[in-house]
């Protein structure tokens, strides 16, 4: 169980990582707690979407679309639950399900261990996540929302920077 193994074919040599027991659950809960409580004291911390980063990381690492989307769904629904009554259950759930699926799918094809790749993928996934949330708001909930702001762009960059360091930290939870 501690060994890395090839997922698609032996020629690609892309590893599927296993994590220590409780690592995924603990990281998810910590991310959600951070997301819920830290902005209370540091308002700027609200632009960091730690649950999204956790979804991206474990999706890229596990490289299994099914588990990635299910993890994204769980994290998203939990985030919805903690976001107050104005956010319906499923808003982030849908977005993170899709992100989990895409991260797992991409992680199975590309080497996502390099910090630059992680930075770029995080920016892309952050944008996709925001896009899905906006589409959900507009189409399903009939709520108006802007597509792009500088704040979102800055948030994407900040999250990408945080992701580079966070992902490196989470790498230590892998089974070696």
């Amino acid at each position: 169980m501690n060994d890395a193994f090839d997922i698609r074919n032996m020629e690609s040599h892309i590893e599927v990582h296993k994590f220590r027991g409780g690592a995924i659950v603990g990281a998810t809960l910590l991310a959600l707690m951070f997301q819920a409580f830290v902005p209370v004291y540091f308002a700027k911390a609200a632009m960091i979407d730690l649950p999204l980063l956790i979804t991206i990381y474990f999706g890229l690492s596990r490289r299994n679309p099914s588990t990635g989307l299910l993890l994204g769904m769980v994290i998203g629904l939990l985030q919805d639950s903690l976001s107050g009554p104005t956010v319906p259950l499923g808003l982030y759930g849908i977005a993170k399900t899709v992100i989990g699926y895409l991260a797992s799918s991409i992680g199975a094809r590309l080497d996502t261990e390099h910090p630059a790749a992680r930075f770029a993928l995080t920016i892309i996934f952050f944008g996709l996540h925001q896009g899905i949330v906006l589409l959900t708001r507009r189409i399903l909930l009939a709520q108006s929302s802007v597509w792009f702001t500088m704040h979102l762009a800055a948030a994407a960059v900040v999250n990408a920077i945080v992701a580079v360091f966070l992902f490196a930290l989470l790498d230590h939870l892998r089974k070696s």
Binding site: N64, S66, T67, L70, L89, I94, T97
Partner: protein
């Protein structure tokens, strides 16, 4: 979480999970109309199909109804035709009853306007069996106090007189019968002369001198001298005047439609009737004369009439007998000689 190696399975799983969460969203959200979003979506999703289905089913139903479900059309058509015939018959009956009601209303009005004259409404139940006579049979008889020589009229005019009475029926000799006659006078000049039937629809006024002015369209009314009908009851209108020697030949169209009588009024008195003032409709009203017969004959009009030879026979003090035989007409020369100016 191994166990789902298939890539296609993951796509299906993604789709399913997203849809589940969309449904979850729909269950929570309320629109401005306070309706759950799931309801809005459901209605929005199903309504096009419902409309399309309704449209399609409507077309199918119309097609079926108009092209395939015609098995019973012929039967229904026949049934409807029968119902239509029955309804037409009912309409005719109702129209007939309405006309009858109008006639009866006319009789009733006439009766109300002459309340002091004893009269009885009767229905014509038969006519003469042959063309040799012009009579009608009424549904009233001696049990209804009808007697011979009683006058029979309609609100339009004189009809004739009772010539035979049975228990429950009575027979009336119409004015158009060649043996019938009634004391009459011209409406304008008041020239008196009996009017009788000629066995045809028009009546004849025979004893008007050539010197008298008579106009086509002039009214002819009863003179009251026959002691059957009150004065000034309409008899008819002059339609044709021919000079003769020494009397004009005057033809009169009866005021009453003697060819189509259905209800009539029988004047239930053998006493001479005296005219009161004319009613608003121009129709005369009559009453039983309060004065004796002899005194009635002394009135100016009566005097003029009695001065006419034979007029006493034409209008006897007693009601004329049931006449298959008409009252005798005066000799033409005498009538001309004694006719008052």
């Amino acid at each position: 979480m191994p166990g789902i190696p298939s890539r296609h399975k993951s796509i299906f799983l993604l789709t399913g999970v997203v849809l589940l969460q969309v449904l979850l969203l729909a269950l929570q959200i309320k629109r401005d109309s306070e309706g759950r979003l799931i309801r809005v979506w459901t209605v929005g999703a199903f309504s096009p199909f419902e409309r399309a289905g309704n449209h399609g089913i409507g077309h199918l139903r119309e097609t079926w109804r108009h092209y395939f479900a015609l098995q019973n059309a012929s039967r229904e058509n026949e049934q409807l035709r029968r119902e239509n015939d029955e309804l037409k018959m009912q309409v005719n009956q109702l129209q007939s009853k309405a006309i009858e009601a109008d006639r009866l209303a006319l009789l009733l009005n006439f009766h109300k306007s002459h309340e002091n004259v004893p009269m009885l409404g009767a229905r014509v139940i038969a006519t003469s069996a042959g063309t040799a006579s012009a009579t009608i049979m009424l549904d009233r008889g001696s049990k209804d106090h009808i007697k011979k020589n009683m006058g029979v009229i309609t609100p339009e005019g004189v009809v004739g007189k009772v010539v035979e009475v049975y228990d429950n029926t009575s027979e009336v000799l119409l004015l158009t019968d060649k043996d019938s006659g009634v004391g009459a006078m011209l409406g304008n000049s008041r020239v008196q002369s009996p009017v009788g039937g000629a066995g045809e629809p028009l009546l004849v006024m025979k004893y008007v001198a050539n010197d008298d002015t008579v106009n086509i369209g002039e009214r002819v009314v009863t003179s009251g001298m026959d002691k059957i009908f009150p004065r000034d009851l309409p008899i008819g209108t002059i339609t044709d005047i021919k000079p003769g020697n020494p009397f004009k030949s005057i033809r009169i169209r009866p005021s009453a439609n003697l060819e189509r009588l259905e209800e009539v009024i029988v004047l239930l008195t053998l006493q001479p009737l005296q005219m009161n003032q004319e009613t608003e409709t121009g129709k005369p009203s009559a009453s039983v004369a309060s004065e004796p017969i002899g005194e009635t004959a002394k009135s100016p009009a009566s005097a003029a009439a009695t001065a006419k030879p034979g007029s006493a026979k034409l209008a006897p003090a007693k009601p004329a007998p049931a006449t298959g035989s008409p009252a005798p007409v005066p000799a033409s020369t005498d009538a001309a000689a004694v006719k008052p100016e």
